[in-house]
Amino acid sequence: MNRLSLLSRKPWTWSFVAALATWIVTILFTGGASTASLTQATLTFAAFSVIVGLGQMLVITLGPGNVDLSVPATITLSGTVALKLMDGQDGMILAGLAVSIAIGLAIGIVNYAMIKFLRIPPIIATLSMSFLVQSTAIWYNRGLRVKPPEELASFTTSSTFGVPNTALVALLLSLAVWWLLDRAIFGRWISAIGQNAFSARMAGIAVDGCRLATYVLCAVLASVCGYLLASFSGGAALNMGAEYLLMSIAVVVIGGSAVAGGNSNVPGIWGASLFMFLVVSMLNTYGFGAGVRLIMTGLIIICVIVAASRPAGSAR
């Protein structure tokens, strides 16, 4: 079996094919003039989707019904609190990051506590959690717009060796999650739970411990994303997380992870995130209005999912 056919069997191939095609089509329209700037922008913005998508992917791996809808509110609260705490001082950058992570930890624990002890389905539990978190953010923010610390702002908006720093952070986090999912015992455990929770229990897996850790990881990744996003865009806004609700789920699905759980992959999150940003850029470049753009985005996503949903069952 040659390398190419081996590659085409991977579920994430389609997301990269789609991203590349969109990139080429956009470049062609501009006659190649904006190649560098388009690539830069794509990598920068895709990085945020990647970070959130990684967490959502882990949660979706846990099996049918598992999803975290509190992601946007977590992004907002984390960005708001961290920026207000740092108050523009460079010395507080690490403290801000620590507070962000702590917020993620707390939200993740409460999410799973509601799912487990109050027996609320994840979709409802995390949605109601998102109202609580969003309200806290509104109460805390009160329309303030605090500037991020100078060093942090310049870090998030600049590049190293031509690659945006946010993309590098996303890459590091992706490597960590890839190791966790594909190499570590933990990844085997959550994949087992996603396929059959009863079997996983009877194989001696600490099912509740794994689920808790996964929900916490997802919330922490979202809060790190909120921290970076607020610093990147020069201040937190109350709607800054909104677009990541659907985005985080879309990149998991387009990336070829199984919606029913048990089978996920990290590269697909990248392909899908790049693709999602490129589709919007392409439609912008072609001068479509907002309405047409949304419809086209929806149609293109449907096409990619249909193309990507070939019969599964190749063993790993």
Binding site: W179, R183, A184, I185, F186, R188, W189, S191, A192, Q195, N196, F198, S199, A200, R201, M202, A203, G204, I205, A206, V207, D208, G209, L212, A258, G262, N263, A312, G313, A315, R316
Partner: protein
């Protein structure tokens, strides 16, 4: 047509599930005004015969006649007045009693059907279970399990457009207390006196003997005896269910079990017998299927492992019988299905060590004789028997000192069984304890000691030469009403 034309008769019926002959050329009939008691141990073919009669299962060979007319199928069975009260209750819990009545009786239609249905079902319930106190407009989900069973029974005895001619009662008293059971049996006798027919399956032999006019004994997919009920006693009935051939000598060697107890439980579930297990012992859990054996295994396992923290050393391992339910991971390869029970030992720095995992797979492939060219093939590419070997290997490869087995040999071919039996013996003499729920008499006889379950509790403990088919049957079927 003579007036004694059978309500249903089946001739030379054969049903096979894979290699298992569920019915092996059975002749059987129920005549009007007859109450037939059907008894037999697990796998004797009772449920299969019920499913053939109610039209749910087409026989692979042989013919089925309803009131002398050939042809099967659920709708034909119903048209000839065959009704079936299922062991696992078949009511919809989200609907009311009246609505459930409508589901069974399409004749209740048009304006005001609820009112008519309520009147009918209330009258029938009053007749079968006087003083029941069940509101026909109540949602089934709000009723107790006994009340649901009463409703299901009453619905099946109901006449809307046609009379019930044959009512099949499969363990009808399993959730009823003694007085309700007596009410039902009284009603059944009256129904039969008035010309109806009943096919009664029960593990309470007292009910069978007092209610049936004729008793049919099944064994290994065959009818072995069919005689008037008066010719039987509890003792002769149990004997009739036993092996026709002389028992093979027990192969169990009781010398390996040590005195060191690994489990000791106080008596539970209304039983008087405490449960205990020693190191190196093979303990059988016997009795009719679904009488609390699996529950006990799940409880034992739940106590031994945490749901919140990964435990380094596992005390118990579980071998599933219903593989798809709580055994295999269907998206995974054979290797991953095997190694999941043992990952910490195959890991370095919290990551799975691929080379070690592969070696582990090859090792157990050879030891258990798992028939596959490549351990990376999907688990579902294996036959049932080989999937079962993988689950055994998963348990045996772990360092668990106690292995719980939930009827793991269901649907496994004889060759695989022999291989696994030998492995069990070897592992037990090496000091492992096995707790083995089995519905097959041959397997139970391999055990050092056997606990017999009935109605969710241990009713007998047999050890040494007392582990015999006769003793197990006698304990599985209760003589009197519960």
């Amino acid at each position: 047509m003579s007036e004694t034309e059978a309500v249903v008769s089946i001739r030379q019926v054969r049903v096979e599930f894979g290699a298992v002959k569920a019915l092996d050329g059975v002749d059987f009939e129920v005549r009007p005004g007859e109450a037939v008691g059907l008894v037999g141990h697990n796998g004797a073919g009772k449920s299969t015969i019920v499913n053939v009669i109610n039209g749910g299962l087409s026989p692979h060979q042989g013919e089925i006649l309803y009131e002398g007319e050939p042809g099967g199928g659920i709708s034909r069975a119903r048209a000839h007045g065959v009704r079936c009260v299922f062991q696992e209750l078949s009511l919809c819990p989200n609907l009311t009693v009246v609505e459930n009545t409508r589901l069974m009786h399409a004749g209740l239609k048009g304006f005001g059907w609820r009112k008519r249905a309520a009147t009918l079902i209330r009258a029938r319930m009053d007749e079968v279970f006087p003083g029941h106190g069940i509101d026909p407009l109540a949602t089934v989900g709000s009723l107790s399990i006994a009340e649901r069973q009463m409703v299901e029974i009453a619905i099946n005895f109901l006449t809307v457009t046609e009379d019930p001619k044959l009512v099949i009662l499969d363990e009808p008293t399993s959730s009823l207390d003694a007085s309700l059971a007596e009410q039902l049996m009284t009603y059944v006798r009256r129904f039969v006196r008035e010309g109806g027919s009943v096919l009664l399956i029960s593990h309470i032999l007292g009910e069978i003997l007092s209610t049936s006019s004729r008793i049919v004994v099944m064994k290994d997919g065959r009818v072995v005896t069919s005689r008037p009920a008066g010719e039987f006693s509890v003792k002769t009935l149990v004997e009739a269910m036993g092996s026709v051939v002389k028992e093979t000598a027990r192969t169990a060697s009781s010398g390996t079990a040590s005195a060191e107890k690994v489990i000791a439980l106080v008596p539970q579930g209304g039983s008087a017998t405490p449960f205990h297990a020693a190191r190196g012992e093979i303990i059988g859990l016997a009795g009719l299927g679904g009488h609390g054996q699996t529950r006990m295994l799940l409880d034992l396992f739940a106590e031994s492992s945490s749901k919140w923290f990964p435990t380094a050393a596992k005390r118990m391992a579980f071998v599933a019988g219903d593989r798809a339910l709580n055994g295999t991971f269907s998206q995974w390869s054979i290797l991953r299905n095997l190694s999941i029970g043992n990952l910490p030992q195959l890991a370095r720095l919290a990551a799975v060590h691929t080379a070690r995992e592969t070696a582990h797979g090859e090792d157990w492939k050879a030891r258990m004789g798992i028939r596959t060219p490549d351990m990376n093939n999907p688990i579902l590419s294996l036959s049932g028997g080989n999937q079962q070997k993988v689950l055994f290997a998963r348990a045996l490869a772990s360092d668990a000192t106690i292995v719980l087995m939930d009827d793991p040999m269901r649907g496994v071919d004889i060759g695989t069984k022999q291989e696994v039996y030998a492995t069990l013996r070897r592992e037990a003499s090496a000091g492992r304890t096995f707790i083995w729920y089995s519905t097959e008499m041959d397997e139970v006889r391999l055990c050092d000691r056997v606990y017999v379950f009935r109605d969710g509790a241990i009713v007998a403990e047999l050890s040494g030469d007392a582990v015999s088919e006769e003793n197990i049957l006698a304990a599985s079927f209760s003589g009197e009403a519960a």
